[in-house]
Amino acid sequence: MISLNARNTRFAYKLLMPAIILTFLVHIIPTLWGIYISFRKLNIYYIRNWTEAPFIGFANYTKALSSLQGVFWSSLCYTLIFVIASVLGCFILGILGAVLLNENFKGRNVIRGILLIPYILPGVVSLTNLRFMLLQDWGIINSILLKIGLISEPIPWLTGKMALISIIIGNIWIRWPLWFITILASLQSIPGELYEAAKVDGASDWQGFRRITLPSISPTITVLTVLTALWSFNNFTVPFILTGGSPSKEANILSLNIWIRSFKNWDFGMGAAMSVVMMLIMLVLILTYLKLTKLEEEQ
């Protein structure tokens, strides 16, 4: 099927060359460069002539990770809450949508198209709109909640602890359609006879869902979970737009934290040290992912 000879190998390498060159230029060299910067005292004085920034060993790392400063650890905690809550939310909404739309009824395709819109809409637009809806004084959400009497005072959605909840909602809103559409696709590959057979054997709907549906979609769920976790862990846009670039402590998740440290406080050395630690955490996640997908291939 796949032929192995010198001519084909040469052709394959030629095809891969642009991608390999690009990966080196834009991913691998900068990564190494970033690690190098993290050992230098690179602050505002050295930005223009950054090659002269003094070498300071692990000082950036100890500063970032010391319990006294604590910036990194609290940021990491909030990032993890953000990631876990986002995955859970996407999971619930995704399964709900997929199960509901896995039947034929009139208007199904239209509804499917509508539910996909948040995924297609530019994230900045969705998030700016959400920010507008969540404004404390003029926001429609507070207005509705006040009118139906659920709250008596407007909630400050975009500051303090509530900001963490808002960025989670924003992240779920833009990501869940991917879950919905991929789970729906894998549901549709389950043969209907399985359910009929189960029904003949006297199984309830819930048993059918637990014994047939869940096992068949679990590989899809695994992939979605890891991808959503990675993308949320990395996320910059959601907290940046929703908090207008000046987040509360709770919404200051890692990418945004590093960005503020580097491009607002101009402490590049520290920002680089934090990104290297972040990269190491990512690596663990990625290796888990590769292991999981490999397990699936073997099965």
Binding site: L4, S126, T128, T182, I258
Partner: protein, 281 residues
């Protein structure tokens, strides 16, 4: 019988809930873009305003350089879309249909790089770009090429991955038949394989266009007043003109139009191509 009715009611409630969850924010975006400022700044903004103001859509082109942002975004997104699609189609084909030493390493490297945080690269980029300017005199910060290369590279791995998934579904016999007929590898690729891979190519093209069209992080640092792209333009607009949310919303609608058009025309390809790529991992 009663149980059946209850089940139906539950299902309808679920669908209505999801539709509201998606449609209400969209409705609010659209209706706010048509409001007068005075109708925005009240404790209880009206759900169904009694008057609308279409000229918001005219004003946005005057209050902010929307036309310039639009041009910048189009140049950057279309260029990186073309480049990324070519790179990904080549690489995806090689990874899917050829066996060669290092195949696995290359595939895993692409996959891993796509997952690293953008912020990790942004700092070194900024410094490398300054370095190139200082030593070679080529400015990259605030220019189109700097942004286009960056976006191409960042869409690349994901695009390669989707493309490879797509080529896996194109039967290898097609290529073999072409080779037997006397085609070279290159001709077999361009004449036989590429036409068969059109849906996959369309998917990757939309995805890469959308990624560049929506990108914020790199745009915050690598663009300047002349090369500002739409997403950042919208963000700054909203920061500067806190008093005109109706205009911000109108700008938001205008920014969304190209991707929505893309989606409507290519939805068929998009759903099948994307799910095959994403589910298979």
């Amino acid at each position: 019988m009663k149980k059946k009715v209850l089940k139906r009611a539950l299902k309808i409630t679920g669908i209505v809930f999801l539709l509201l969850f998606v449609l209400f924010p969209l409705y609010w975006l659209l209706i706010s873009s048509l409001k007068y400022s005075e109708d925005i700044y009240t404790m209880h903004p009206s759900l169904f305003p009694s008057r609308i103001r279409l000229s918001n859509y005219v004003d946005i082109w005057k209050t902010v350089p929307m036309a310039k942002y639009y041009k910048n975004s189009l140049i950057v997104s279309v260029s990186s879309m073309i480049l990324a699609t070519i790179v990904a189609t080549f690489a995806g084909y090689a990874l899917s249909k050829f066996k060669f030493p290092g195949r696995k390493t290359v595939g895993v490297t692409f996959l891993v790089t796509q997952m690293f945080p953008g912020i990790l690269f942004l700092l070194p980029y900024y410094l490398i770009f300054i370095f190139i300017k200082n030593t070679l005199g080529i400015p990259l910060i605030g220019t189109y090429p700097g942004l286009i290369i960056t976006y191409t590279a960042f869409v690349g791995p994901f695009a390669i991955w989707v493309m490879r998934g797509y080529f896996d579904t194109v039967p290898s016999e097609l290529r073999e038949a072409a080779l037997i007929d006397g085609c070279g590898n290159f001709r077999a690729f361009t004449k036989i394989i590429l036409p068969a891979a059109k849906p996959g190519i369309a998917t990757v093209a939309i995805l890469s266009f959308m990624k560049s069209w929506n990108e914020v992080l790199f745009a915050t640092v690598l663009t300047n007043n002349d090369t500002r792209t739409l997403p950042l333009g919208l963000y700054e607009f909203q920061q500067e003109f806190m008093t005109s949310w109706n205009l911000v919303m109108a700008a938001g609608v205008v920014i969304s139009i190209p991707v929505l058009i893309f989606f409507i025309f290519l939805q068929r390809y998009f759903v099948s191509g994307f799910t095959s790529g994403a589910v298979k991992g």
